[in-house]
Amino acid sequence: MTTNTQAQHWDIFCAVVDNYGDIGVTWRLAKQLSAEYQLTIHLWVDDLASFSHILPALDPSLPQQMFNGVTILKWDQPLSIGYKPGTVLIEAFACDLPREVFEQIENCRQRDTFIPPLWLNLEYLSAEPWVEGCHGLPSLQNSGLKKYFYFPGFTKKTGGLICEKALASERDQWQSEPQYRQQLFAQLGLEGISDADKVISVFSYETQALASLCQQWSQSELNIHALIPKGRSLNCLASIMGAELEAVQAGQAIQYGALTIHILPMTDQDGYDRLLWSCDFNIVRGEDSFLRAQWAAKPFIWHIYPQEEDYHLIKLDAFMQVYCNNLSPEIASTWQALNLAFNQGDTKRVITHWERLNLVDLPLQQHAKQWPIDALIDADLARRLVQFVKNR
């Protein structure tokens, strides 16, 4: 049985693997659980320097600090800050928890007065059908403890999708006032963008398909602005940017025919959301930006994290089937073919399908607006997660 002295907080452990993806998801979840459910959240992160890119006020040298009501703790080895079990323990994306955590929860189990925390493994988002069959299942451990696998997903039988309660209304308000977009571009130092121009944000992994698209955009009748942060997307544009690639700075603009490549400064998560809301089209990657692009209600390409034996293409296809469920076959096939070509680095087909996309631009935009409503179904991930914990 529990006693009054048992801590009621939740601990979330996150190992940063890909700079912004894993920490992006866990940081959003931590903020939402704190703000909307008044939970005391301890977020343990092993790479505060990477975290500070999306939370610029974070001081990577401090072992403990608080932002948005969330206590952020440095996860070093061995832990320099003592772990005290709370009511819930989340290992994000199957990260290996520190030894001290196991010792503490084992102590809990052996004492009658403390209940071990509910232990969850928050998994990656996937639209594959098998997710429904694995979501919420216990994982029996040798120690006798149970760990539950929590799978985000697109159906009622999964763990849902991270989405803040106020996000849709904030986005709608933003998108209804064109001056917000111009103000944002001005804040980011992006010059020369008129209302008639097409603006595309790019946050992808390396792929020659992007270089190919840039070539295509440079010959467009419309002025096209590609907003790209320094990093992996730019790495594949050497053929376009030449020697400038090494020296580019945030705020710089490189003209290439009808295409202007703007080098974006890093931004926090709210700023990134507003950027996605402001662009006509978004190219995103991984999990966090992928989901935020959906909530932006704009058409997008998803550059999925590449896996061995092209398994990522199965995941991509599973999502595309779900996303295109209510789309006409013509629009669906064009959008799917574009995504597939981009992910396969197919420099020719990506251009063909981009050109075809123009023909279905309006219905695709309408679909992108409706999609966030359809995808959320009854509840977002945080609400389902809190309910899951209550039911255990």
Partner: protein
């Protein structure tokens, strides 16, 4: 110790002080190449079953119980009867065969490993590769010979799986019993 990824139907693993027969395994891939293994387990002591999920690299004790090489003999509802080299017969409940039940056919000559716990046959493990006849599959639609294009096929015993497009009804095929996947034409 074995990883969850290495555990196969028919294995017996020790969890929380109890032996569990692995009746079914299903491996899928999460993000960043990580494997997730879903298992259906039967508690040998309590006769109860549960579904559970593991990370592919989770380690668990694979218990070495008494095992005998046997061949399938006949079905006597509700038991499948296996026989060892000395003609001793062992009854195995259909539930304890797990996924292997789909590959049990009259006249099969595969050498199976029957596992015993306190004298009772509790699971059967098939060889890694078995050969079965395709009893029905649609003719090749595209003339593909690369083996990359797949189509559904029914094999002797009634199980279905995906096979290469060039496979025809009546062909003998090799199946990997760990993954239930088509390997090649035998």
């Amino acid at each position: 110790m074995k990883t969850a990824h290495e555990i196969r139907p028919g294995n017996v693993i020790m969890l929380d002080g109890s032996p569990w027969v692995v009746q079914k395994t299903e491996t899928t891939r999460s993000g960043r190449n990580a494997a997730i293994v879903k298992m259906k387990l039967k508690n040998v002591l309590q006769d109860s079953t549960t579904e559970t999920t593991f990370k592919g690299e989770d380690k668990m004790d694979d218990i070495i119980l008494d095992r005998l090489d046997c061949t399938y003999s006949y079905y006597a509802d509700p038991m499948y009867v296996f026989m060892d080299a000395e003609y001793n017969q062992y009854d195995v409940e259909a539930e304890n065969l797990g996924d292997a039940v789909a590959y049990i056919v009259d006249g099969m000559e595969d050498t199976c490993q029957v596992t015993f716990y306190e004298g009772k046959a509790i699971s059967v493990e098939l060889p890694t590769t078995i050969v079965r006849e395709v009893t029905y599959t649609e003719p090749s639609a595209r003339g593909d010979t690369s083996g990359k294009v797949m189509k559904p096929a029914t094999i002797a015993g009634g199980a279905t799986l995906s096979v290469a497009d060039f496979v025809k009804t009546g062909d003998l095929i090799e199946i990997d019993t760990r993954t239930n996947e088509f390997k090649k034409r035998a």
